[in-house]
């Protein structure tokens, strides 16, 4: 099965018990064409996955997987501090085997071996070296609610890119 190294950037607001948090995640996923369609497997964070008949559908499923994990963590957290700590742990727990396959797939892209490929052509490419991975969690000031707290996803024009 051919796999592809994917970068993603998500920007979301999540509500919990007496807090609202802004969560910005820049992570990695491995895209693989399996017998039942395309799958995106999380590298960091490593405990999410999403599948679909197309890469786009798999991307939507991965986002749902990611958000549902955040929603569960928010539901359990007694405070913003507890939520932040658990989400940082969620992001830090990598999927080692997926990471090894991601690195191998990335090396193939860098060598030019997958140019012209249908999957590679469906996503923009971004230099992985210029896309630092990480997570940022900020408490939204709910005492001063106004539209200035909205954030755009400046990662790419869409949430996903192929790592180059």
């Amino acid at each position: 099965m051919r796999s592809y190294p994917i970068l993603f950037g998500y920007r979301d607001m999540v509500a919990g018990r007496d807090f609202v948090a802004f969560v910005a995640t820049d992570g990695r996923a491995l895209c693989t064409r399996e017998a039942d369609g395309f799958w995106l497997y999380g590298v960091d964070p490593g405990s999410i996955a999403g599948g679909g008949e197309s890469v786009e559908e798999a991307g939507r499923a991965l986002k749902e997987s990611y958000l549902s994990a955040l929603f569960d963590i928010a539901a359990e957290a007694a405070s913003f501090a507890a939520f932040k700590k658990e989400v940082e742990r969620f992001f830090a727990e990598r999927n080692g085997p997926n990471e090894a396959m991601w690195e191998a797939a990335h090396a193939l892209v860098k060598s030019g071996a997958v140019d012209g490929d249908a999957v590679a052509g469906s996503l923009p490419r971004k230099d992985a070296a210029l896309c630092p991975r990480g997570i940022r969690i900020e408490q939204v000031d709910t005492e001063h609610r106004d539209a200035s707290q909205h954030r755009f996803n400046t990662f790419v024009q869409q949430e996903y890119a192929e790592a180059a």
Partner: protein, 83 residues
Amino acid sequence: MTSSGTIPLKDVWKMLDAGAHGSAPAERIHNWEVRYNQKTYYRLPLGKHGKRKNPAIQIGHVRNLVRFFEIDACAKGQLEQLR
């Protein structure tokens, strides 16, 4: 997405009992959260139609869980769908 690539949740629990002995699943609002060996897998879905006794779990989610806990050899011995 085809429905052929699924594994009954009961079989996933049996596989974890064998390959990740001592793992602890906890039901959350959207997912099963599984803790094992000081790691937490946050996103094993409850099933396509929400909470059910033995829902079918898409193979991709099980494959990712198995990789996360690095229990490939045992999991493949327990679940023929992963071979």
